[in-house]
Each structure stands twice: as C-alpha cells, then as structure tokens.
C-alpha cells in the first residue's frame, strides 16, 4: 500500500488477500461445526427433493396416459357421423360454396366498384 502511487494496488491487494487467507484458517471450531452441519443438511435434503420430482413426474405421466386411453373409448363423431347429421353438413357445404361463389362474383364485377364510387351509394352509407 503506497499512498504516493494510488494506481499501484498490487501490494495492497496482496496484503488484504493474505489477511483474508489467514482469517480462513482461523474460523472458530463452533462456526466450522455449523458449516459442516449446514453442508450435510443440504446434502440430505437433495435426495428428498429429487425423489419428490420423480414422484411428480411419474404421476403426471400416469395422468396423461390415463387420459389418452380414455380418449380411445370416446365415440368418434368426425369419422362415423350419425345419419341425422348428414343434412346439416350438406347445408353447411352448400352455404360455403355459395359464399365462395358470391365472393368471387363481387371480386370480378367492376360495376360494383363503380356503384360504390357513385353518388347513389352515399345515401345508403349514411343510413
């Protein structure tokens, strides 16, 4: 430590480090005992937490498996439709086709855009 050279810190650092190492060798036996106990308790707690994670994983996996098996027994509506359900499906298909046709017509008809730009369409838009 030399106050005349504030940037020359190696001496100061080395002294502080040496003192720190000396202090590590002088930790009291009671404190060392507490540290040892803390270490052992931490080690003992570790397998318990690992076991609990294994149980949680096993339980979650079993639950997923049970749900998967249960789904196998449910009736499949999409692959085997009931006879009464055929008409609505057909209607739905028809409506979809109609919607697509009208949408196509609107896209292809230039008169629609001319009418939209004309003065006739503005009162309708005000309503």
């Amino acid at each position: 430590m030399n106050p005349a050279h504030p940037h020359d810190d190696t001496g100061f650092d080395a002294q502080a480090r040496g003192l720190h190492r000396a202090s590590l060798a002088q930790v009291s036996p009671q404190t060392l005992m507490r540290l040892r106990t803390a270490r052992h308790e931490a080690q003992r707690a570790a397998p318990e937490s690992a076991r609990s994670w294994r149980w949680l994983t096993a339980t979650a996996f079993s639950a997923v498996l049970a749900v998967g098996i249960g789904l196998q027994f449910l009736p499949r509506t999409s692959t085997a439709p009931a006879p009464g359900a055929a008409t609505p499906v057909a209607v739905t298909d028809g409506e979809t086709a109609l919607d697509e046709a009208s949408a196509g017509a609107l896209e292809e008809d230039p008169d629609l855009y001319l009418w939209l730009a004309s003065a006739d369409a503005q009162p309708l838009a005000m309503e």
Partner: protein
C-alpha cells in the same frame, strides 16, 4: 501497512482454479469463504451462518451443472441471500426494534489462540478486524466487488455475473473500493 504479521509463503499462492470433483467437496471448500463474505456483509455471525446454509441448500439444485459453473453460481446465490437478509434486518430495525440491540455488530469470528505465536495470531486478528470494519463501511456494491475480485480472486467476468452488472461497473466499484479502503486503513496506522 495493513498486515503486520509475518507473511506465510503458502498463503501467497493463488487459489486453485481447478473445479472440485464433487459438490460436497466444493461446499466444504467454499464454506469458510462464504461465511467470511456473509460476515462482512451482515455483521452478525448467526445471520451469516443462516444465509450460507440457505445458499448451500439452494446450490444442491444445481448439482447437475458443470463444476466450472459452481463458483459463480454459488456466489450469486449467496449474494442474493445476503441482500434479502439485509432488507429484512433493515425492516426489523426500523419498525420492530427501534431501540433494540440488533444494531450492534458481532465481533469477528476467530478461533481461540492456542499453541505457539499467540501475539502473531492476535496481530492477525486485529488487522483482519480492521479490514472487516473498513469493508463494512463501504457501500454494498463496492464491498462485493473488492471481496469477490480481490479476496476471492474471481475474474472480472465472473464477478460481473455474480453481481449482476457489467464488467465496467465491476471495475468502477473496485476502483472506488480500493481508494476508500486505502484511505480508511491509512487512518488506522
């Protein structure tokens, strides 16, 4: 001079960079270091031991990480525990024990003088107590930077990881810490 005791050549060798073989060995080695770090930050021996135990318990979760990562991980965990404890202690002091004796600092933990050289041990203890007093007078970030970077010899990158800041901030804190410590310890001469 900061240290008046005769320097021990074995103590001047840098800390071994080789990672510990097992987490048990790692915790056994770092335990006293962690205690000294916490003791300087918390001022109470029992609080320091509590946070070290908490950090060890938490560290077990990361036992599967590569051993090279254990050191910065552990210091990071311990630092956070100390900050939490300081906040709780501050709350207790402000609201629950305004005139209690919790504000008094514990003396530095030191083994009783046994065997040869009691005066040398006494000198070391006095010198270390002065260093700890000076460290406790520093702002927390400066104390952390000096302890981790200089005393524990972590590199700048690891110190930055532990402190959760940039490497430039570490250098700034360290520079200010050195300046303040040199000034304080000079006054003790």
């Amino acid at each position: 001079m900061l240290v008046s005791a005769t320097p021990n050549p074995l103590m001047d060798t840098p800390a071994s960079p080789a990672p510990a073989a097992t987490l048990e060995l790692f915790l056994a080695d770092i335990g006293p270091r962690a205690f000294r770090f916490a003791e300087a930050g918390l001022r109470h021996r029992d609080d320091a031991l509590d946070v070290v135990q908490d950090a060890m318990m938490k560290m077990i979760v990361y036992r599967d990480r590569p051993a090279a990562e254990w050191t910065p991980l552990f210091w990071s965990i311990l630092r956070r525990r100390i900050v939490d404890m300081q906040r709780r202690a501050g709350f207790r002091l402000r609201w629950l024990l305004p005139t209690g004796d919790r504000g008094e600092e514990s003396p530095v933990d030191w083994a009783p003088d046994l065997g040869a050289g009691p005066s040398q041990a006494h000198d070391q203890r006095e010198a270390y107590a002065r260093l700890v007093q000076a460290l406790r007078a520093l702002p927390a970030r400066q104390r952390e930077a000096f302890t981790l970077r200089v005393l524990e010899e972590l590199d700048v990158a690891d110190t930055a990881r532990v402190m959760g800041c940039s490497e430039g901030s570490v250098k700034t804190h360290l520079s200010r810490a050195r300046e303040a410590l040199q000034k304080q310890l000079e006054e003790f001469r």
